[in-house]
């Protein structure tokens, strides 16, 4: 619109179509001349012409076509003829498609026409987006329809290309393939001469071209290019898409770079750079053209987009490659581990229930361990049809808790035991991994162990069952049944081989239900063959299957004939020949296990043993029946036993097989079934007797003393079967002859002893006399004791050994008489020796009797105890003295055994001091009984003292005891050890002193001292107080002295009274009053005076704490009375009355009335008109006596007082508490310790 047009020339503009519309003859058209066109139409037509895009207009009912330059190019050959003609004629190809749209537009609708392919003729494959807009006439009608279209084909193509590109790249397996594919596709799409990916390496100052495609017009780019050669290109490429339409035009590039580009064959170039993050090198996708080329915006956008996608695809490929690498590694690991690993996917239904479990991954070990193959992708229920519901529960639980689960499980599909560890994988419960081990082997081992246990249990049961069977038949039957049941066999039988008759007798056995019974006999020769040979050799025979006909061997055929398909046979060889066999038969083939074979052998062994036992027992029973009554009635012991010899052939023991009751009685124990060595500790000789008889067959009779039992035995050993030299069986008949033997022995021993005593006892006089008392024998002992030689003594009367006094008293005859009558007579008296000295004999006279019982003489036995007696005498008197001493002592004397600490002696003072009877302390444990009396807190110390004394120390200690009467006493014990000759402490002794009084005195003294201090200090305080008071009212020193001295004297008096008090005593009121009045000369010692009358009971006890103040008060009253009151004049009179009056509750009080009369008061003590001095009249100036009465006594004694001055004189009343029984003595007023 640079050319200006005249206003008449419409439409304006110098575009081709503006010119053509201006020049068109519109008169011939339905539109008529331009001048007549509505303004609105013209405006829209001008807009149409001005549009750079395809813009058209159809006007009026005829739909006359107008269009702009862009549309003109689109119309191709239809242009310019199309202008001004109805649309249907102008564009006949497109009209049918667009006519209905125009209809709607003319009806007033604006229509969007997306992606409309243009008329095929004009624009092959181009695609348009169009808009049809009605042009209103202003009166409600539509003048024309304006059409506007944008070509969108390039965009579509670009999008289609990018879609293809993405699909293609996704399919490429690796980075190189991705890059190569992308470059080729882009190159084809944009008809490029070269297309490459460049990587910039700023650190190395270079760019590399790892990927490039292209044709000959642009030679391949060098692998690297120096960035310094293209500084500007690089700079610009980094900051955005770098575009060169034509290197001649450049982009402000320096000449050098343009030249270098050109040298590389580039004319036009487009580079889209991608930068991802600071740390990563930028990458460009470069499109290169060998000719100048104007890049359209669509092309630029396409390259940029392609660069993005290519880069993304390369990244993905790189990641996938890495992932594949990692997967490969994982896979290797996965397959390498020994545990079976499987990952399963859980499939849920709509309700969230697990309906299937699919194997997704398994490792090599899984297949090996599980025995399952090709499971991936298959359902668990398909792979393991017999999988239990419990697995599904397990999966459900696993998913619910998210926690791993370990189970041990037997899977019957694969006949294996598995230890499985399940664990959820990832979130959402979709995958489950399980790791498992085939532990079948381990389980089998455990099962084997269980087998062995089962075997033990079986054998135990077998043993128990067989033990109760008494016959061989029952044993066999029991064993057969148990074994058959255990092995689940068809039958079990025992065969007895009868070689003589070529037979095998089948003993009672056991047959399973429904199994064939065994024939009663078999012919041995039918079974000749390896099996029987082995049996005869003592070897257990075992066959799993005899096979099918025809049989390999006749013995197998014979077995099959009796219904045996599989069998076990255990032989018993007895005496070198096959005697018995135990057979286990199965009707079906059966693989015997070693355990089963072993079990059968064990059973056979035990059965043989049990059969033997049963047979032996049966034989024994027979024998017993015959001999029992004989044995049991016999007094003699009987026993039958087998001698046991050691390797050297020495008999070492005997097993008693049977014995009768007498044997048990004699030996004190039942011996049947026991060994001789168990009965007692016999000397070897005893076994040798048995052994000799067993060996020689020669019976032996002996009488021997057995140290082992302390018995004499008379026994007869013999062989029941003397012919059988090899039999160790020996029988014995025996008796206990101890009594007989010991009686004989005693006699012999006694004779010997007698002889020995008589001949050797030097201090024993043993001699005999005849019936008349004449000495018959006089051995050395008698000679020694009495001094006479045998010659001198024999034939003399025994009386010569008696003292003359005894002789005169007829003692010798009396003694004989007594011995005759009593069988003995004591002879304990002084005797006389040859030299006249005396000897004390302790002895006995016994009668000696002849075979007819007559007394033939006497035996005198006596011991010279003179010396011992003297010693004992001395000791006794010493003891007696000591005892007297101990018994007289007020202290406890005691002696204890040092070892046991038991009292050996306690003097009677114990009872006094401890308040405890001696018999109470001397029973049981002496130490404990004694210690129980001690106060617990002192007990340890007292016991420790005992220990110290036992160690040899002297100890002085004190402790308290609690006497049973409740009194606590202090005991001071002086303890010391008593040593034996070797200096060992044999006894300990002590003297216990009751120190209670002393300790109490000490305590009391302490209290007294404390009290004395208290009192004296108090007294000083009181004196100080009196001094101050006196001083305060004294006018001169003389005045002070005059007042002070009497007060001090009064204090001294009352303290004198106090100090003379005995414990518990109190000062009485009359005492106090009298003392005071006496001191003033008012009264005499008896309380009489001319001007006074004292009336009141004596002995009213005052509280000690009150007396001092009370005394001072009385002193002041008396002083005043003397100075100013009733006693100051002869006509005055003083009356003091006192009595007990009731106080509070039960308390009694002393009431004192002090009445003065006859003298008017000169010095009214404390009168109210007394002048006040220095402002404190009450304290300073009040009369001292009155103050004491009115203030001090109430203050200190809780006294009630009155003090009046009457015209007649002073009247004073004092009521004070008195000492009650509860009032304690001053010495313990208040307990300083409490």
């Amino acid at each position: 619109m640079t050319t200006r047009n005249t206003s008449s020339a419409w439409p304006p503009g110098d575009s081709e179509m503006a010119r053509r519309i201006r020049e068109h003859d519109w008169t011939a058209t339905p539109l008529g001349p331009v001048e007549g066109w509505p303004e609105r139409l013209k405006v829209v037509a001008e807009l149409m012409l001005a549009s750079p895009r395809v813009s058209t207009m159809v006007v009026g009912p005829e739909r006359v076509l107008l269009y702009n330059d862009t549309a003109a190019r689109l119309f191709g050959a239809r242009h310019p003829g199309a202008l001004g003609r109805p649309h249907a004629e102008a564009l006949p190809e497109g009209d049918p498609a667009v006519a209905p749209l125009y209809d709607r537009a003319f009806a007033g609708e604006a229509i969007d026409v997306p992606a409309q392919p243009a008329s095929a003729s004009e624009a092959g494959g181009e695609v348009w987006d169009g808009v049809l807009t009605p042009v209103w006439d202003g009166a409600g009608g539509v003048l024309a329809v304006h059409g506007f279209a944008t070509e969108v084909g390039a965009r579509f193509r670009a999008q289609a290309f990018l879609l293809r590109l993405s699909d293609a790249l996704r399919a490429e397996p690796d980075v190189d393939a991705v890059a190569d594919r992308a470059l080729r596709m882009l190159s084809d799409e944009l008809r490029l001469d070269r297309c490459c990916i460049s990587l910039y390496r700023p650190d190395e100052e270079e760019a590399v071209f790892p990927y490039q495609v292209g044709n000959d017009t642009v030679p391949p780019l060098p692998p690297t290019v120096r960035l310094s050669d293209f500084p500007e290109v690089y700079e610009q490429a980094l900051h955005g898409t770098f575009v060169i339409d034509d290197d001649v035009e450049g982009r402000g590039l320096p000449e050098s770079e343009r030249a270098k580009s050109k040298a590389l064959g580039m004319r036009a170039m487009l580079a889209s750079t991608i930068r991802r993050g600071e740390g990563r090198a930028p990458t460009s996708l470069m499109a290169v053209s060998s000719r100048a080329r104007r890049w359209t915006p669509e092309e630029i956008a396409l390259v940029e987009e392609a660069a993005e996608r290519t880069w993304a695809a390369m990244e993905r490929a790189r990641a996938e490659a890495a992932l594949r690498g990692s997967e490969a590694k994982f896979r290797t690991l996965f397959d390498a581990i020994d545990e079976g690993l499987a990952i399963q996917e859980l499939v849920y239904d709509n309700q969230g229930e697990i309906i299937d479990v699919i194997f997704r991954e398994v490792n090599a070990a899984y297949e090996r361990q599980s025995g399952l193959h090709d499971v991936i992708g298959r359902s668990l229920f398909d792979v393991l049809p017999r999988v239990e519901d419990y697995w599904v529960d397990l999966y459900r639980e696993l998913v619910r808790t998210g926690r791993p689960v370990r189970v041990q499980h037997y899977q019957q599909d694969v006949d294996g035991w598995f230890d499985v560890y399940f664990s959820p994988v990832g979130e959402g419960g979709r995958f489950v991994a399980h790791v498992f081990n085939n532990i079948t082997e381990r389980k089998r081992a455990e099962a084997a162990l269980r087998d062995s246990e089962e075997r033990q249990a079986f054998l135990l049961a077998l043993g128990d069952a067989m033990r109760v069977q008494t016959s061989a038949e029952e044993v066999v039957e029991t064993a057969a049944r148990l074994l058959g049941l255990q092995l689940k066999a068809s039958r079990v039988a025992f065969g007895e081989f009868d070689d003589e008759h070529d037979l095998v007798h089948i003993r009672r056995g056991w047959t399973a239900e429904g199994a064939e019974t065994h024939p009663a006999t078999l012919r041995q020769s039918d079974f000749l063959g390896p099996l029987l040979d082995e049996l005869r050799a003592g070897v257990t025979v075992c066959f799993d299957d005899v096979g099918e006909p025809p049989y390999a061997r006749p013995d197998l055929e014979a077995l099959a004939a009796i219904g045996v398909r599989a069998g076990l046979s255990v032989p018993l060889i007895d005496g070198g020949r096959l005697a018995l066999n135990l057979m286990v038969h199965n009707h079906e083939p059966y693989p015997w296990t070693d355990a089963e074979v072993a079990l059968t052998q064990e059973t056979a062994e035990r059965t043989w043993a049990a059969m033997a036992r049963a047979r032996a027992e049966a034989a024994l029973r027979d024998s017993e029946v015959r001999y029992r009554s004989l044995f049991e009635s016999m007094d003699q012991g009987y026993a039958l036993g087998d001698v046991i010899f050691d390797e050297a052939g020495h008999a070492v023991d005997v097993i008693y097989l049977e014995a009768n009751p007498a044997a048990a009685r004699i030996l004190g124990v039942d011996i049947a079934g026991r060994r001789m060595s168990e009965i007692a500790d016999w000397e070897l000789a005893w076994y040798e007797h048995w052994g000799r008889v067993a060996r020689t067959g020669q019976p032996e009779r002996r009488e021997d003393f057995a140290n082992a039992t302390g018995q004499w035995f008379d026994f007869y050993l013999f062989k029941p079967d003397p012919e059988d030299a090899s039999s160790p069986r020996v029988a014995v008949l025996f008796e206990d002859v101890t009594e007989r033997r010991t009686a004989e022995d005693r006699l012999r021993a006694s004779e010997e002893r007698f002889r020995a005593i008589v001949q050797t006892a030097a201090d024993h006089a043993i001699f005999t006399t005849d019936a008349a008392g004449r000495i018959e024998t006089w051995p050395a002992g008698a000679q020694e004791v009495f001094g006479w030689s045998a010659e001198e003594a024999v034939g003399q009367p025994v009386g010569m050994t008696f003292t003359p006094e005894d002789r005169e008293a007829g003692q010798p005859a009396k003694e004989r008489q007594e011995a005759r009558e009593n069988g003995h007579a004591p002879d304990v008296r002084w005797h006389q020796r040859k030299d006249g000295s005396r000897v004390f004999i302790e002895g006995m006279t016994r009668p000696l009797t002849g075979p007819d019982g007559r007394v033939t003489g006497f035996l005198k036995v006596g011991q010279d105890v003179t010396e011992r007696r003297a010693t004992e005498e001395a000791l006794r008197s010493s003891e007696a003295r000591f005892r007297q001493f101990g018994e007289a002592s007020a202290d406890v004397l005691w002696i204890r055994d040092a070892e046991s600490l038991a009292f050996e002696y306690v003097s009677p003072a114990f009872e006094e001091i401890y308040g405890t009877k001696l018999e109470d302390i001397l029973g049981g444990n002496h130490v404990r009984r004694w210690a129980d009396l001690i106060l617990p807190e002192d007990r340890d110390k007292a016991l420790e003292a005992l220990r110290q004394v036992r160690e040899g120390e002297h100890v002085l200690h004190a402790f308290r005891i609690l006497r049973p009467d409740g009194q606590v006493c202090w005991i001071r014990d002086t303890d010391f050890p008593l040593l034996d000759e070797a200096g060992r402490v044999q006894r300990i002794a002590g003297i216990g002193h009751d120190a209670t009084a002393e300790v109490e005195l000490q305590d009391r003294l302490r209290v007294l001292v404390a009290e004395l201090q208290h009192r004296s200090r108090n007294l000083v305080g009181v004196v100080k107080g009196v001094t101050e008071k006196t001083f305060a009212t004294a006018e001169t020193l003389d005045d002070f002295r005059a007042r002070f001295r009497p007060r001090l004297d009064a204090l001294a008096r009352v303290n004198g009274l106090l100090s003379r008090l005995e414990d518990g005593d109190r000062i009485t009121f009359d005492q106090l009053l009298q003392t005071e009045l006496q001191a003033h000369g008012i009264a005499d010692g008896d309380g009489h005076g001319q001007q006074i009358s004292l009336r009141g009971p004596k002995g009213i006890r005052l509280r000690s704490a009150t007396v001092q103040t009370f005394a001072l008060a009385l002193h002041e009253l008396a002083t005043n009375a003397l100075k100013y009151g009733a006693l100051s004049k002869p006509e005055g009179h003083l009356e003091v009355k006192w009595s007990l009056v009731p106080g509070q509750e039960t308390e009694q009080r002393l009431r004192v009335d002090w009445r003065e009369s006859g003298v008017p008061v000169l010095h009214p003590d404390g009168a109210p008109n007394e002048a006040a001095i220095n402002g404190q009249p009450q304290r300073r100036r009040q009369g001292y006596g009155r103050e004491l009465i009115e203030r001090a006594l109430p203050y200190q004694l809780k006294a009630q007082t009155t003090y009046e001055l009457t015209p007649d004189g002073v009247r004073c009343t004092i009521i004070v508490p008195v000492s009650s029984t509860l009032d304690v003595a001053f010495s313990s007023q208040g307990d300083p310790d409490g």
């Binding site: 208290h1014 009181v1022 103040t1109 200190q1196 009032d1223 310790d1233």
Partner: protein, 125 residues
């Protein structure tokens, strides 16, 4: 006879005086007052002391005779300690005759001087 008060610093101190002996109580009261103290009491027994403690402003300290004639003063010490009132014993007893738990309290031997009391009260303050 009054102590020189120059060094005695009991000015304005409230002191409870418990002493059963009237003469000594009077004497001590006079001396304490001369030294500037405000004497609460004197009272001869625990009862009287408790009455004073419950009706008057709390004293700063208490001077207690141990043996109050019929009673020992100790129960009062407990109350005073509870109320954080300083206690000084005035007694004729030796220290060993005072119960263990009260031995840490200052003990002045009779006859007392105000100086001793002041020193005892000022100690450890």
């Amino acid at each position: 006879m009054a102590e020189p008060v120059a060094h005695v610093t009991l000015q304005g101190r409230r002191i409870l005086l418990v002493e059963d002996d009237y003469l000594m109580a009077q004497d001590l009261q006079a001396e304490l007052e001369d030294a500037g103290a405000l004497v609460l009491g004197p009272v001869p027994d625990i009862e009287g002391a408790m009455d004073l403690l419950n009706t008057s402003p709390a004293p700063d300290a208490a001077v207690l005779d141990i043996n109050l004639g019929c009673d020992m003063v100790y129960p009062l010490v407990y109350t005073l300690r509870e109320r954080l009132i300083r206690v000084v014993f005035a007694t004729g007893y030796e220290a060993w005759s005072i119960p263990e738990r009260y031995r840490d309290l200052p003990r002045l031997e009779k006859p007392l001087s105000v100086r001793q009391i002041a020193e005892a009260l000022n100690r450890n303050q």
